[in-house]
Amino acid sequence: MSTRATFLAGTTALVVVVAAGGGVHSFAWAADAPPPAKMTTLGDWLRMLPDGTVEMYTDKVEVGMGVPTGFAQFVADELDVPFEHVRPMLGDTSDTVSAGGVGGSFSTYQGNFAIRNAAAEMRSILLAAAAQQLGVPVAQLSVNAGVIHVAGDATKTLRYTDVLSALAPDPVFPQTGEGFNVDLTVPAKPKDWIDYRIAGASLPRKDAAGKAFGRYPYVVNVKPAGMLHGRFVYPPSIGATLVDVDASSVHGIGDARVVHVAGFAGVVATREWDAVRAARALKTTWTPPAVTLPAQAQLADFMWAQPAIKQNVVKDGDVDANIGGTPIEATYFWPFQSHANMGPGCSVADVRADGVTVWSGTQKTHALRQGMAKLLQLPPEQVRVVWTSDAGSYGRAGLEESAAAAALLSRAVGHPVRVQSMRADNTQWGTKAPAMAGRLRGNVQDGGIVAFDAVIRQFNGNEVFSQPSVAGSFLAGQMAGFPNDAVVYEFGQYGSASAKYEIPNMRASAELVAPFTPGNSPLRTAHMRDPEGPGTTFIIESFIDELASHAGMDAIAFRIKHLKAPRHIEALHYVAQASGWESRPSGSKKRVGTDGELIGRGVAFATRVVTTVATVAEVGVNPKTGVVRVRRLICAHDCGFIVNPKSLQGTIEANLIQSMSRAIYEQTTFDNHNVTSTDWVTYPIAHMHDIPDEVKVVMIKRPTIAPGGAGEPSSRPTAAAIANAIFDATGVRVRTAPMTPKNVLAALHAQGNIT
């Protein structure tokens, strides 16, 4: 970063920025506020090239939802340059500002401010220079497609590129905030939301055509000179540690050789197929499993029997005094689920004496830089992480596992090494969304919830830090002997707070259960598309629906009765309208499809930070087989200002399908010693034949309200909407996810009011 800033001590804090033609931008902040700890240059965010191209530097990488395209729309709009001229430069730690990377649906919600400020400031500087050159006040200037015009004088025009010298030296500004909140403070003010024209339009995602033509760069294709292919060996059971490696077992497989670092063993070879075969052939000896896992069918009982740390997430009024003598009670269960990324994760690491380069599809390159530095015991300044797209990643998916292994292997053999995980490495040994068990009680009087008491137990997630910045959070790091010293409780703080209902006596508690083992666990838990929201919302919103039934009320009317915020209520109105919702108590109308399916509709509602989602599902349930077919999904989605409607629609549709998959198919299976979900057969997900006949997205327009996040919120209500629709169809509550034929039949038989 540039250091052309002068701090003046005393009562007036000031940064002096040298700008166009010796002109000076001064920026002052309040004397009683602490001076900013960090400075940033405009060029850290945006650079305009002599041909008019605007390079946009951000660590908000493209995970497939179009965030960088949206940012480019803001930049084009602020500068009034063609959208096509803005080129995203994504996630390289050597030239992007660390702003938390991608996560938590925060990229647009929090990240828009810095990039809009940078663009507004670039425009302001260039216009000031143009005004000087043209001899007119700035107020008389306007810009159209990068050409600066003077009001009332068509003979006078300039291009931005004629005044580029105004951007040298690179202006410096205070950088505020940490992580997702990083912003830069500039004198210029971005446009009002209502005035955006390029932002707000359905412009093409900048990655779409490249992907369709097979030309988009993926990390699997990175190939530095001298690169070898590597694989590493996973434990045969939970908590097992490496005892011995028989290096002779790979002899004769191409030029494969073995790398052995403490409890970490891997192979490298010139040809990838040789590395794959050598990893399979490598004979290793391991200690017995560290623990015996509970039988999968008893996981909920096991979780309730464990010691737990209790956190009250929400507490209002006096639940104990108002729960009544015979509260409505229910227990729920949500299983472990696998990230099961489309590609199992790939990274290339080049560890050299003069520096380290890692190519990875991680969501958080700057955090991975820290993690790689710790793993290699080097200062972070010696590590560069270059983001290159991998398969889709929805949280702490563990794509970084390959980066840790590649770094260890590259250091050992003195070559760049590419490690691509195999299917089982990712599905079986990758990170998991936590299993959850819920106990809920409620008291309903006169159609209103008097008291609501929810306890949700889940694994605490402390063995995988949300940031890939801790060497011992990587499986390869654990095996190489690094302590897992992050120890942050990742769960019990997000989803439980999702119920926004006005309930006088309310208690929502998270109870956190320790992991099975601190290391080498195939059931280590981590954020998975909305850290824990789909599971928590399944539990809470299913139970809210039960309370509506006990009140004898329509499920949407009951929810609206307990909501105050207009945007919450409007989302429910929109979804009712778009789905053709028939207002009546659920379970009160028998509908039978042509093939004997029982048909029902259900609703669920969720918020995530400022975003509000209401989803209606229509299902058909085969009462003989227990098969649930989702016939329709209708989602009303309010995330404030919509940066790109087409991108948003694609993101919401994909959210709905992925969360439907989690609701009706997905559970990580395990035996006493290991996960047994290893591939797409043993970890089934939704396929084309499962896609509903109708998927409808209602994007509620809020052109004057700052954008919220959209990457995760619409994954929240789907499972509960489906479960509530099953109740409407059958009169039976399925309280165990996923809603597989087995779980549905079990509920039908246990509750048995099928006629």
Binding site: F213, G343, P344, G392, W680
Partner: protein, 156 residues
């Protein structure tokens, strides 16, 4: 034991030195530096590695390279170019029928085989033909739109 295997990929003739049992995927990627077919599962369960072999969508992760000898192999990049696009590529780009796009080989190459054989397939037929492909992101709704759009384009 390595052998010399002659391949014709995307219209170009190549000689590959590899064990005949090597999966075609690795021969294409490693020996020919063709970047498009991608490893997804190695088990023929997902389709990320799909190429055409003599016009038939084939999972290259379980197909020995020797099988492709003397046959025409086509990858997504060889199906069409921005200058001469296959209608499916245009439709997938226009519909933004992908999130991460890692799986896209499977969908476009399998749909290309379908549309080469059948004009105006019904939605049910498209779902059936694409039934064994995996998209973890859940882009299926947009993919259906894209395939139907291309089918319409190809019969217009």
């Amino acid at each position: 034991m390595d052998k010399t295997i002659r391949l014709r990929v995307d219209g170009h003739a190549h000689e590959v030195h590899a064990d005949p049992e090597t999966p075609l995927l690795y021969a294409l990627r490693d020996n020919l530096a063709l970047e498009n077919p991608r490893f997804g599962c190695g088990l023929a369960q997902c389709g990320a590695c799909t190429v055409h072999v003599d016009g038939k969508a084939t999972r290259s992760c379980v197909t020995p390279v020797s099988f492709a000898e003397g046959r025409a192999v086509t990858t997504l990049a060889g199906l069409g170019t921005p200058q001469h696009p296959h209608p499916l590529q245009t439709a997938f780009a226009e519909e933004q029928a992908m999130q991460c796009g890692y799986c896209l080989n499977g969908w476009i190459m399998t749909a290309a085989e379908l549309l080469a054989r059948e004009k105006k397939p019904s939605r049910a037929r498209i779902k059936e033909a694409l039934g064994s492909l995996v998209c973890r992101c859940g882009s299926h709704v947009a993919i259906l739109r894209a395939v139907e759009r291309a089918a319409k384009e190809m019969t217009a």
